[in-house]
Amino acid sequence: MINSESWDWECNKKMVADTSKWKDQFEDVWEPYISSDGEKIASIVKVGEGEFNIAVNKETWGEEPFEKIWYSRFSPDGRLTALITKEMEWTMAVDGKTWEEMYEYIWDTKFSANGKVIAATTKQDGVYAITVDEKTWECPVKLESIASHIISPDGKTAVAIAQTVATAEADVNAFTKGAWSVIVNGKPWNDNYVDVYGLVISADGKNIAAEYRNSICEYGILVNGTPWNEKFGCTWEPVFNPTNSDEISVPVRQEGQWFLATNGRIVWDKGFVNLMYQTYSPDGSNIAAGVAPSFAKWTIAVNGQPWSTTFNECILKPSFSPDGRKVVAIAKDSGNWFLVVDGTVLGEGCDNVWPPAFSPNGDKVIYKIEKNGKFAVAVNGEVKDKEYEALWNPVVSPDGTKVMICGVKGGKYYRKVVLLSDI
């Protein structure tokens, strides 16, 4: 977890950087990113023909530019990473310092929860691997490709879906025998599968689950390399109970309907046209999911019971308030996005809505919205702080009394902390 207690939570507003000056200073300025604590803003900037650097607040990453830079992202601990190339080779740069090893290619940066561990997919001499803090997997089989990877919250486990068997063009038999597997810290699971999807690691990092496909309509769930006995017509990605890593819930399709199954057993007796984004409450006792009780009517079901309010376009992943009593989701209806709490729509429709932060007791939801090309902070449906050119998700202080709002107005990047009661 990000330790936000050490952040500056004094109520104040400060201009961190006048980013409007970057446009005069550099040939081109890319979209900005900010650090978790809001103290830093960074953009990739073009400084000459084939020369790039990163501007961070009032400085750049040293004098020497890179040939290319992309995917600049702040680690949760505040370090700035980016993927860079020098003399046609790629590597990771962290706060301007590059990893020693260079690669044919590097992409898909991931962080541990506290940001101390940095991982990415790398390719060298035609072999794919995950590189964690500069240490590249030594895998007993050649990985022909890596489709995706994740790391555990503690950063100790890196897992990837990888192709472990080379297949010739149009060799459907080799494909059907299974050419893909799950690689855990460089070690493949015993078996190969036709396809693997939806990789997840439990909160304690002990267990790994994924969907797999055996044939056109035979899907199942693998837990640490062992398949569930039950097979389904289709599945979506599994989720671990945050307080019990032996419990996994997954949407499964049977006879044309979607159900929620836990550890292989269907636990919601009602079937849906679709069921996605199942989410546990923080204490693991309740599950909410996006469901379509009938065609083009989307809502949230909590423990199998759908809200009465439905939306005709879509619904996104729900979340619980910290105390687990409220469920919130972003929904789209007739071209507008809305935030919905326990089935009640908050405020007017927007062009975009971002996932909210909660006050400790869940009575306030604070979130970013977009309307007419400008961004604003909304609280329980009321627009409070408007006209940002760029805005990041508001963050509630650990003691639950304040909120940090970071955004760009008039070309200047501001970080401000206000009392929750004042917003």
Partner: protein
Amino acid sequence: MKPTIAIREPVVDDLMDQTEKSLTEDQIEKVINEVIDQETGVRLQTYVNTCIHCGLCSEACHWFLSNDRDVSFAPVTKVKDTIWVMLEKKGKVDAAFIKRCSQIAHTECNVCRRCGMYCPFGIDIAYMMLVVRRICAKLEMVPLYLQDTVNSHAATMNQMWVKPDEWIDTLQWQEEEGQGYVPSARLPLEKEGAEIMYSVIGPEPKFLAQLLGNITVIMNVAGCDWTMPATAGWDNSNMAMYSGDFEVMARVERLHHETAQRLKVKKIVMGECGHAFRGGEYDGPTWLGWMSPPIPIVHAVAFYYDLLVSGRIKIAKKVEGPVTAQYPCNIIRNAGLGSKLRYIMNAVCEDFVDLVPNDRHAFCCNAGGDTINCGPPWKKIRVQSARLQSENFKRTGAHTIVTPCHNCHSGVEDIVDGYKLGMHVKFFSELLIEAMEIPEDLQA
């Protein structure tokens, strides 16, 4: 009901031949009845019970017309020889029959839906062919090369086995190519909050990377706020929709739409591909329970129309000489973009020569519905059965045929080659790049 006499040259398709040997009649009966009972309903029954076997659909079908009115290619025959038999025999058919069904539904029908327009009752015969494809797919009776592209979709979420690094690397390379025209051009990757997510189909990074350079120039000249994803979800194509593997189809479409949602864009603009539009706009959302795509999808033809009408792209010099255009079924007959296609053709060409018949009545390129993805074993009959459209092209006297669809592009290239038409085949963006004005302040 007696089977129709169909005279065909033998075709070796390793996967279909192999599956024929391994299928049991019990398997076949179970799958047919499962699909009929669980995945079809009143729609299929209505179509089957309404058809009076008049055969008027035949006159609409380029397979029938290109093959000297051979009745074995008529739409009504295709239905009679497949789903009718399955229903009549309640699934008690053999593996050779299923193989013939796949041959008919996968390789001899483009599900172009022209026949449905000419049916006095409006029966959607293509839907019935898709039901046949679904049954065949569940029995793993799919042409080899089509199945390979479906496998690619299933494993990589793109149709051409493009690896993640190859995708990103190609975009970065094509950004540089675009900078050859417009030095300040940028192809922004993973830009959250851009107005547009641009998506393409697998062959673009694999074989036709210059199209990515073209769109970089067009987007930058037009001043669009756009992005492309650096993750899976970039490929908008969907061969699984046409093979009958609807679960993979849905997974691919879901990821495509969720990638757009993750990037918080206002719309998806897709490159020049017809079936991809169908998958993203209709088949995928329908299977997933969406009435329409949660993030609206705009086909390239409509997008270029908007850019030209609004003046965001201006034409400096029109393409000289007669140019014609193929009307892709999935965006014209099935989505009504015909007048926009003619507008953009007239905007960039001095002499746009329209096809006859045109618009919703235009004939399929005969590559559509993934018949082209059935691969080399089935190419000869496919090209042979495009004779009608080859004659339509020839009559235009055009030097170039524009194909705002990848399947059309490959299919029309085969037609041009097979019938020695001596015409060029281009995407619209290739003409636009030749004709558009690059403002002085953006020029190299």
